[in-house]
Symmetry: C2
Subunit: 355 residues, 2 copies
């Protein structure tokens, strides 16, 4: 079998030369500025929190933001090194576990910059850390992530904001599409709404955090969309309530991506332990997982799965004053990382806590 499937033409090598040093119109290379942004996540008192720094309180859009700064190739050996250095400088925190999330570059998502400044490409990172109560931050605050995404908080059942605010407004937005011929729509808005927000009996999927935020943005229902001057917001945007707390630039989108990734990854990689102290009880572990994923898990099965997967080992110590029978203390078995595809906390969602 001939493994070379040539195209009709041959590539002309010098056609590519220009791409390295300069661009089409013969101008200087189209250089852009790269922003590094960190969504730093921890769990404090069973509440998932993110590390927030405040934007300029004088300006009209004084909003919360994530630690961030530009990538400086001359000073930063790698992207991640640059990120760590900005975070250290801005919050005093030394990052442990960190992973790259996504690189965003859509026009118009940085309304706060003026039009002459270079376009910004932002690379989002997720960092997981254990925030001890006696805060070791030089600056910044831990704020609950559900503060920015109230519709994601299913710990006490379906959040009212969905039925009260989100659903009716999204449906109105879907109606406005009715004049477009059905054939031309990629996926009908109403379908996307149903899937994202678990309407009409569709189950709630806790891993659609980003999709939901983007849908709300597209529909002009989050403040950032208004700030960026999205078309959908032009109609009757004055009487809209605020859905969750806004953030500067595209930081809320990055935080959504971070929550999304955390929820997904916790199930197949042992990342919860980055959020835990060195020693913990299985109940504390479970509460941490639930803080992130939402639904309540079956206690006995949770213990069986975690212990069975070899993720933890008893320290031999007990924790008393738990409010009941003392609990064995466990520690994370770091060795599992050396074993085959290291598993996560295998939890499947309960049979549909929708509605």
């Amino acid at each position: 079998m001939n493994m070379e499937f040539a195209g009709r033409g041959k590539p002309s090598p010098d056609k590519f030369k220009h791409m390295i040093a300069q661009d089409h119109d013969g101008l200087a290379p189209s250089a852009v500025e790269i922003g590094l942004t960190a969504a730093i996540v921890a769990v404090l008192d069973n509440e998932p929190v993110a590390l927030i720094v405040r934007g300029d309180p004088d300006s009209a859009g004084a909003t919360d933001g994530l630690p961030f700064g530009p990538f400086e190739p001359r000073q930063h050996r790698t992207l991640e090194a640059g990120l760590r250095s900005w975070v250290r400088e801005q919050t005093g925190l030394d990052l442990g576990y960190a992973e790259q999330l996504y690189t965003f570059a859509d026009r118009g998502r940085h309304a706060e910059q003026d039009d002459t400044s270079p376009p910004v490409v932002s690379i989002g990172y997720l960092a997981l850390t254990q925030a001890r109560g006696g805060s070791d931050l030089s600056s910044g605050v831990w704020r609950p992530w559900y503060h920015y995404f109230p519709w994601e908080d299913w710990r006490r059942g379906r959040p009212e904001i969905i039925a009260a605010e989100i659903e009716p407004r999204l449906k109105a937005w879907a109606e406005r599409q009715a004049d477009t011929p059905a054939a031309q729509r990629p996926i009908a808005r109403s379908e996307r709404i149903r899937i994202c927000f678990g309407l009409d009996g569709t189950a709630w999927d806790e891993e659609k955090v980003l999709e939901r935020y983007e849908l709300l943005y597209e529909a002009g229902l989050v403040e950032e969309a208004r700030r960026d001057g999205r078309p959908a917001t032009l109609v009757g945007s004055s009487d809209l309530p605020r859905l969750g707390h806004p953030m500067q630039f595209d930081h809320r989108r990055i935080l959504a991506t971070a929550i999304n990734r955390t929820r997904a990854k916790i199930k197949y990689r042992p990342v919860v332990f980055e959020l835990m102290p060195d020693e913990f009880t299985l109940y504390e572990l479970q509460k941490t997982v639930e803080a992130i994923l939402g639904p309540h898990l079956h206690k006995q099965n949770f213990r069986r799965l975690v212990e069975g997967a070899g993720l933890v080992e008893p320290t031999g110590e007990m924790k008393t004053r738990t409010g009941g029978r003392p609990a064995k203390l466990f520690r994370f078995r770091r060795e599992v990382l050396l074993e085959r595809p290291a598993p996560g906390v295998r939890v499947t969602a309960p049979p549909s806590r929708a509605q």
Copy 2:
């Protein structure tokens, strides 16, 4: 419960102002050039292939490469739009499914650029497409991806190159670490080698494509490492065989990431169908999955799972001249994308085909 966990100091807002327009030393913003690179994957005659364009054949390092070009904020509305436009220009192909993989920026991975040019950050993309036999390319060739990663091809059992070339050389590299005190090593090299390449009874994990490539790079065993002047390559690098075919810049790393993502994603999202023609038999579908994942699957179970998941529907037509009993033709049920978390081809690896 007080949800604001303030740090010791308060953030000083104007501290952040400089980050938007200029950097520390008061120079112009540290702008960098962004490269968009596409790993375009298809399956032809049960062979997974990538779309390759040739580097400059005159230069010493005349090597294969992936379609790529710089992101031009003035012309490209989004990163992905830029990518599509470069691919169209360089190969004549109109991309269908595409997703972002990762953003790389390590120093020294672009040895071909001279030191005065701006640093390059490259954003890798994975595109899946159906390459019809009668090639519609204006330029570029489809080459088997195992050409670049021979150790990943387990379709005919464990590739000999592992025992013959890779294992002994990696072990030699691990030996060289023996003088470092054990406490200082993050994870012993020998452990990483065992896990990556499934030695000593460890099962082969087909989803560690990138990890394996990076390990070989770090050990100085792939040509790119020599090209980049990695320290590990300085000793006796002249007699080294070539492990797989090299590529220009960091393109082989991006292709490794693409293979990795494809292998992972095919299991939990219905992406195989991007590689299939509109109508196909279940056997063809199975062969395509096997081309990507490696191991052979149990035919009857595969059919049961695919049909049971509602991923396909019969067209009503039959395909004759299959070499045996005619097979029903199926098509992808696009509707599954609208159903709950759309499943992939749920295949678990057979009980360890490791040596």
